[in-house]
Symmetry: C2
Subunit: 155 residues, 2 copies
């Protein structure tokens, strides 16, 4: 077993769990009390960061360890939980690349974070272009269909 301690928490953003329309999402990450302020020094030199967070609102009984249709949509193939990005997964970790808007002391302002208010953050990593895929990305049609409205704006 591995024990993690949150290093921060998501504030603002959306208050409820929804699948789509994260395009307008602005939120802040507030450092936890035990983390020094200087842990964020220099982060504004990066345009993007990856936020690793914990889906704390999910209870254990909803976790899928095998396979399922993504979003329960039977028009899409039944695939393993490690072939999809749904949140009801073992260890309940999310990992999302966000735009860094501003760093203000112990607060990081971000855009495009698909985590709701109060979500515990377990890591913040700056995005290096050298760690992005260095070859063309191939993915199945269902995954493009699933993402169709994900980054759209609400309303």
């Amino acid at each position: 077993m591995i024990a993690l301690t949150p290093v921060g928490v998501v504030r603002g953003g959306r208050g409820v769990v929804v699948d789509d329309y994260w395009g307008d999402s602005r939120a802040t990450i507030e450092l936890a009390d035990h983390v020094p302020t200087e842990s964020l020094d220099g982060i504004e030199a990066f345009s993007h960061a990856e936020i690793i967070f914990f889906f704390d609102r999910l209870d254990d009984t909803s976790i899928v360890t095998g396979a399922r249709h993504p979003r329960g949509n039977t028009a899409w193939p039944r695939v393993g939980i490690f072939a999809q990005r749904g949140k009801a997964r073992p260890n309940r970790l999310g990992a999302t690349i966000v735009q860094i808007e501003k760093r203000d002391g112990r607060t990081l302002h971000v855009r495009g974070l698909d985590a709701i208010d109060g979500t515990p953050v377990v890591d913040i990593k700056p995005v290096f272009a050298e760690f992005l895929p260095r070859e063309p990305v191939r993915q199945p049609a269902w995954s493009h269909e699933l993402m169709r409205d994900y980054w759209k704006r609400e309303g």
Copy 2:
């Protein structure tokens, strides 16, 4: 506190911790006994996956929670641990995008995983192009210099 259970382990690859020359790195991820085989079904439709793993060889005393020069190199600025990707970080999580070479039952063959033999894996997420940066990536000069030999081949 958040408790994670490894879902797999890294096999093969390199046996020792080094900073650079990961270009030849081929490894497998073997599912843990409690994880069903079908959790990997359909993953071969994706070219890349992000592996989230735990730097288990690091002891607690080496963790940096504030700021330091990346790799101890004073030619580079002293920046916060969340403005660098070094492994001696709070919660000791690594997150690396790899190429998927083959899935064989409970084994995933990958390329470009910068984790050593025996490293616990806590999540496997398929790479969706829609979750990569949708804007140009900006990063400081030191981070490009640090990555200069990272993906080169050994020797």
